[in-house]
């Protein structure tokens, strides 16, 4: 196992290297950081010397060779912690990125903690009585959950719990945006949780639908397998068959799905965060993108990429833990 982990980690390095280089080139083409800088600093833009200095400092040389050299300038700065400052406002990138990352992880983990237990429970609940009313109900609910996109569910929930409720009773039942009420200062986990209820529900809806469908299909597959039939014929109780044998094997594909989901969460909540004004990675990305802020976008992309690679590794490890037949070495 250790060898496997080391090997995968070593592979992650060239993977990150290649991905970041491709992303670097794509972002430079898409955002044109020199033009963004010139737009943001019109007086500096009139001074060729200062513009040339900006090019040198940030490695923004033209041509493929320039991109390669520029990538290594960026990489060196990134690895040594000497990050380029943002184009808009010339501020350090990490402080705001760190806050956004923590907020998104907080939201993502809460959503996972809600959606996985509920989704798996519903899947098991449906699989135990296939074709019956409960199965139909879960399947129908899952299809609806899949179909309702986050920006739809978010707006519906905001309208109901915020706007409409306030019209009926004078005050909204749940807050509809932000992380704290306006004017609040300091850390207050209880208040924060209240503000996260609607975003967590929105993020969880599709995940619950997804997990319930996968769990149902996987468990049905296992329940109909030969080895479970054999186990039952040996007189093992149905409860033991389910808990000890069926669920463990049915979880294998679910773990892969969950790991990939969690890995993608870091960058995948853009719509939900935007609708709820939630100060996370999604909003950070949207702001950086609208400013064409290359120095802010690159670290964001690196974190997203690293997250996906890391959670893929964790998925493989969990896979091995759940199914000893899989020989990773």
């Amino acid at each position: 196992m250790l060898r496997f982990i080391v090997r995968r980690l070593l592979w992650a390095i060239p993977t990150l290297f290649i991905v970041t280089f491709v992303v670097y080139c794509a972002l430079r083409l898409a955002t044109n950081p020199l033009a963004s800088y010139a737009r943001a600093n019109p007086r500096v833009a009139k001074d060729p010397e200062k513009m040339a200095q900006y090019v040198e400092t940030n490695g923004l040389w033209p041509g493929f060779g320039g991109y390669v050299r520029g990538y290594f300038v960026w990489l060196k700065g990134f690895v040594t912690g000497n990050w380029q400052v943002s184009i808009k406002g010339s501020r350090p990138v990490w402080p705001n990125l760190k806050i956004a990352l923590v907020n998104t992880i907080r939201l993502g983990l809460l959503a996972v903690m809600v959606s996985i237990p509920i989704g798996l429970s519903l899947g098991i609940f449906a699989a135990l009585k296939p074709g019956r009313l409960r199965d139909t109900a879960v399947n129908t609910g899952a299809i609806i959950g899949f179909s309702v996109q986050p920006f739809i569910s978010a707006i519906i929930l905001q309208l109901f719990f915020g706007v409409q409720w306030a019209k009926w009773f004078g005050e909204p039942l749940l807050p509809t945006s932000g992380l704290y009420p306006p004017g609040h200062q300091g850390f207050d986990p209880v208040l924060m949780l209240k503000y996260m209820i609607l975003p967590v529900i929105v993020v969880s809806i599709q995940s619950i639908a997804s997990y319930s469908r996968y769990m149902r299909a996987s468990l049905l597959d296992v329940l109909n397998s030969d080895y479970l039939r054999t186990a039952r014929s040996k007189g093992i109780s149905e409860r033991r068959v389910l808990v000890k044998h069926a669920l463990r094997n049915a979880m294998i594909p679910i773990v892969t799905l969950a790991a990939l989901d969690i890995g993608a969460i870091v960058g995948g909540l853009i719509i939900s965060e935007a609708v709820f004004d939630y100060p996370g990675m999604g909003v950070f990305f949207l702001n950086a993108q609208s400013n064409g802020d290359f120095p802010e976008l690159m670290p964001w992309m690196v974190i997203i990429t690293s997250s996906v690679i890391l959670f893929n590794l964790l998925a493989d490890l969990a896979y091995a833990w759940l199914d000893p037949r899989i020989r990773l070495d």
Binding site: P42, R43, S90, P172
Partner: protein, 578 residues
Amino acid sequence: MRTSNSSKFAALAVGLALVVAACGSDSSSSPTTAGATETTGGTETTAGSETTAGGSDTTAAAETPAMTITYNINDKAVWEDGSPITADDFICTFDATMNTVGSLSTSGYDQIISVEQGENDHQVVATFKTVYAPYRGLFGGLIKKAAVADCNDISGDFQTDFPFSNRPYKLESWDANQEILVPNENYWGDDKAVVQKVVMVPKADAETEIASLLSSEVDFIYPQYSPETADAVKGDSNVKVSIQFGGDYEGLYFQQNDGPFADATFRQAFAQSIDVEGLMAQVYEPIVAGAKQLTCGPIVPGRYCDETTFQNTYDPAAAEKLMTDAGWAKDGNGYWAKDGADAPEIRWMINTGNTRRENTQAFLIPLMQAAGFNVVADNCEAECVFQKRLPAMDYDLGMYISTAPPDPAYLTGSFTCDQVPSDANNQAGQNSQGWCNEEASALLEKADATIDLDERAGYIKDAIKMMREDWVMLPTFQFPKSGVYRTDKVGGPVEDELNNYAAFINFNQWTDVDGDGQIVIGAEQWPGCLNPITECANSSWYVWTVSFPLTMGVYDTTNDGEYKLTPLMADEPVVEIL
């Protein structure tokens, strides 16, 4: 809306001279200074003013003085820590504006040879190398010398803090999620802060703002007016919409540097084929009942407006004759063509998603095609329009909102020849119509050097007449500003300053109706940092939420588009022409 750089600049004028900027983004509401402010949810630019200048150079001292202004500072005027406001703060403001790398605009300041202490530290003398008529826009917001390490470079200051104030409120905290203002106990004026806390929070767009208002999360919003806004809130008896007509105006602009409108005959015929009255009835009447065409030009009614200038522009018969006389003839598709060439295609650019402008295209394009002009919609996102294509003059016909500051100097930044983007100005000029009329440029520049207001107005009106003669643009509508607020949360003179260039600047006099101890204002755009003279300040919402509420200068703007002396000054500045 697009606010052209000049517009922004006007803000600048008002701001640092008001610190503002040259172009920004506004959205719906947000104009900054003069120019085109458009928005949409996105970005705006400004029209106008940025200009030239270069830093306060050492050669300036050798120039011949043409004008001096003597400012007498009120003895009672102090900063938030009780320290007196002195000539040093004026000098620091001037140095920072001129010398800081990344200073957005030096317009006006670049006409100053020196800023020095006068007879005592409460007197300031600014010496100009030219007669500078828009001087009221200078020193619109002071920088406290003691708050910065080096007045010649404040680019590294004010990242997340704005550590001084000479207004009724001072900044307690600011981050990406909110700004909190608390009373400035040392404020010496009569208009002291009423409520113990004012909170400003970012809202992504007008829809989010309205939802926040309806759910009582915020007490006041300032969106660009639309009938949808009124519809969205009309079911709530505690929400009031106030509509007023201020400095925002919309227009059609003809890019004539190259493309089909470089041909003056073609341009005139096209402009005369636009049924503006039909447009008013079809597009603007549903927005505001009784909507009338703006006929001043790129300016709003007032001292500098001649309302006859753009009257009766629609004359299809004259357009037809003009084209025919010039040798144009309609081709097999019914489009005007000449000399065997294909009919020129006219690319009409608006920002995608702006329903009003899309409706305008849907209404006018078939009419213009029927008149023989091959017009096609060529739209893109707001950022693409205002940050990229307008500055690059990559369009033929444009449509956007601009915001006029109280002083018409923004016209010089937006319409003079040297502001046409070119290598000479590193493509940074703000004249994105590409119009160059030397005589009009000279008039606008002369206006900026004329102190007498009536004489100045004459020059401005004459220059605008030349815009009509050259068919630079067609003004369409003076666009309303709107303030929307909860009457169960906030009271007092909420509606009194909505037209003001400084927007809701009088919030220090608003009252807390529900007794929660604070007023919450929703902001459509959020500054990335707080530096008052660098790119941070490049938006209307920056000046509305940060620099206007915290820094007072020599003059404030008024709700009717004039300047008034602030409590900072002991008396009216003395202008002396040398």
